[in-house]
Symmetry: C3
Amino acid sequence: MSAITNENKKTDKVEFPLNVWYVAALAKEITDKPLARILLNNPIVLYRTKDGKVNALEDRCCHRHLPLSMGMVEDKGLRCGYHGLLFDEDGKVIEVPGQDQIPPKACVKKYHLKQQDAIVWIWFGTKDNETPTEEPPKYNFHTDPNYVFDGDVYKYQAPYQLIHDNLLDLSHLGYVHVHTIGGDAHTHMNAKLVSETRGESVFIKRYLPNSTPPPTYTAAYPFKGKVDRWQELEFYPSHIRIWTGAVDVNTDSLDDPNRKGFHMRGLHGLTPETSETAHYFWTIATNPENNVEEIKKKVVEQTRFTFDEDKVVVEEQFKNMKKFGEQPTFDIHVDVGPNRARRLVKKLVRASNK
Amino acid sequence: MSAITNENKKTDKVEFPLNVWYVAALAKEITDKPLARILLNNPIVLYRTKDGKVNALEDRCCHRHLPLSMGMVEDKGLRCGYHGLLFDEDGKVIEVPGQDQIPPKACVKKYHLKQQDAIVWIWFGTKDNETPTEEPPKYNFHTDPNYVFDGDVYKYQAPYQLIHDNLLDLSHLGYVHVHTIGGDAHTHMNAKLVSETRGESVFIKRYLPNSTPPPTYTAAYPFKGKVDRWQELEFYPSHIRIWTGAVDVNTDSLDDPNRKGFHMRGLHGLTPETSETAHYFWTIATNPENNVEEIKKKVVEQTRFTFDEDKVVVEEQFKNMKKFGEQPTFDIHVDVGPNRARRLVKKLVRASNK
Amino acid sequence: MSAITNENKKTDKVEFPLNVWYVAALAKEITDKPLARILLNNPIVLYRTKDGKVNALEDRCCHRHLPLSMGMVEDKGLRCGYHGLLFDEDGKVIEVPGQDQIPPKACVKKYHLKQQDAIVWIWFGTKDNETPTEEPPKYNFHTDPNYVFDGDVYKYQAPYQLIHDNLLDLSHLGYVHVHTIGGDAHTHMNAKLVSETRGESVFIKRYLPNSTPPPTYTAAYPFKGKVDRWQELEFYPSHIRIWTGAVDVNTDSLDDPNRKGFHMRGLHGLTPETSETAHYFWTIATNPENNVEEIKKKVVEQTRFTFDEDKVVVEEQFKNMKKFGEQPTFDIHVDVGPNRARRLVKKLVRASNK
């Protein structure tokens, strides 16, 4: 079964939820130059066929083990860069140069890959669920003409769940992101938080009424003074949608989904590379009325700066966890959201091991 | 107990003498910007409080394990850079932002730290000796108005006892330090050596009468020709004091502690980081009569150059020991001093395991 | 016994053929500045004595384990750079500075080393064969006045047998070396191949009649158009001799060893460093009639470029083999030569374990 990782092969235990579409790449990353990427412990080659489809195969020639990502995309498939074996989209060898016969076992694993709204998703699936039964998630803010977006891919030297913790608890903004999206630490820490688990997702909402707009906000939008600010998060086991923004204080209601003001829509794809490393695919979308390109550039830049700050914190946190080994801990009020997410992932891992 | 290292936790065995003040830092290193340092396998944050005291805590927030060395010093304590928990000097959490209640177990370990004569010392202590019963060592040449000094901190990729061996056997000067403090190899190797163990220290004395002054000496002092040269070493389990110098041949007696001439007073703090790495804190003091700053600069520069040479030798030695594994060896005449020190350390490790 | 490696010491099993002369260095590498090199898991110091002989000792002073390669060659031997012990050519300590008595066990291992035709060879030998019974191989193209040559030493992050595989299957030229010695991939893959095992060597011959000369060939020789091209390989367990070249189509017979045209004579010394790394010593000789230096320079440059390409492929192949672990594989037509070589090495390893 494809999604059983090397490590899992030994223990027969799955360590990640499998019946989930994970982000494999941003669409713009996948070209006819093959890309090597390890996803859930599986070394995979990602490429775009000559007719524009995205495809994913095991990243290993079945003849002498050269990564297929060192090969080249041709009309009929992906050719290995060592002895020229040619693989079709299903991973079957369809040509052995200099030889008529093709050994019957000459093939590599193919993965389920789909491009959807500028994101490329991959499905691993449990044994009884190898073929995905549902479509990958839609993400409207990559197609909505009112929104502009851009993004990037980070490699984290930390497990993906530490990034969940980081993103789901936005109270850290007051200490980690003082210079961008932070603002007053006290306001963040005292914001009321509502969280709820609904099926396989977690919803978290925090309002910061009558607060000082942080630097990124004032740089992107002409606020008059104090603002009513919101943070609405939807956690799914493979990605998080974060809608943040603000309106001038006492204008639109924070409860009104059609409130005006400044909006940032973040998509955060979090895909385990191994049990100790993760891919972090992010895009940020915003809907400025004027100076569209300029504001987009500013928002993306500030977002990148913010995410760089988070990366340092989370990676140092993980290094320290390894340095100290198992240690007692305790929860505080901000851990409610992250803990819901951890319980959900735990449940799904258990289900994937059935 | 604080000094039990991670490794020791497993084996219940202590690998370093514990009832000893170790150098944790040079005083100039400790500011209100926290400093991360592993000492005897303990990850520790060192910082100076707003009222100027040095302090040392376990380098791990007890909430989510971020190193406290990533935090900031405030009036009331050290604040974690993730969720803002505030730790007082004893390692107790005194504020959880956004929450009134402080969990009763919210604290980290505090270490005994004392600044003395421009050196910051740390005490680990055995179980029955957790609170130091004695003051840290005095070091007069950091306060004596006739002396000027400077120093630095090196990280060695080698166990601290290999640095003991190197420093306590100054016969290597003739081969390793030809271009600075070495001089004639033959003279070094044939110098008479007296060594003696007194309680928890080892004294070593070597005189090189009627020898050629090495480059560093002639650069710093107007010797007329040949010199009578001395090397007097005091080994303590956590540091070595090395007094070297020379007078013009047949002037002052080498036995006279008030002899004139050129003097170098080295303090060498050797603190295990782990069983395979060490911190090396060094200062060099000298007492020139004229051109004080110029001669000090020259002496520190040449000392640094010399210690860089030693570092290469000792680290290559250790790499080679690991490469070859256990191998037979034998002693020669120069090993008398180092062997006394090793026996002493062994005795103290045994005592720390009682 | 000298050739028993550290690893072998544990398992009592030899992993490389031992009764074989391996390349230890190119002669030009060995000077009176000692050179550290690990060969078949043995850390060795190679140096040239003051009277011009090559010599090899265990790279560890028997006093305090400093690599002897950090020492200096003197008239009477190699002096350690720490305490000055002096080793003669047999590895015996003949001087301990400052001490009359020399401990009777003060010696290190000496290896059998011989320079022959610009190559320095080393013999390990099995227990019953510690002293080589035969001379190192001759290599005429380093002494033939009609030939000019140069070469280099590469360190591979891959086992030496993967380099055998690469060199013995020249069909990869069409995919890996398109820009130098490759040429038409189809021609390579369809070339008839004859291979034969003769005693402790394997012979492989491929003719590519009526083919397009590759870039390196046309750069070095004034071919008129299509060429008849040959590749003749002799595999020995420690090195491979590769004779390639071409004549204008339908002029000299490919079967005629005195055929004219363009000739490249490669010597490829492949010596395990460890079970996962290898030294690759190569020279390339050619016999131009005019512009000798210019053509030699061109041929060496292009060869270097080609070998750099191979290095990337083989190292990536090995990385991927480790990433994927044990995986099924299959053979294609081009694997005949490499498989003969692998069987031969296996036989010799078995013999070395008797």
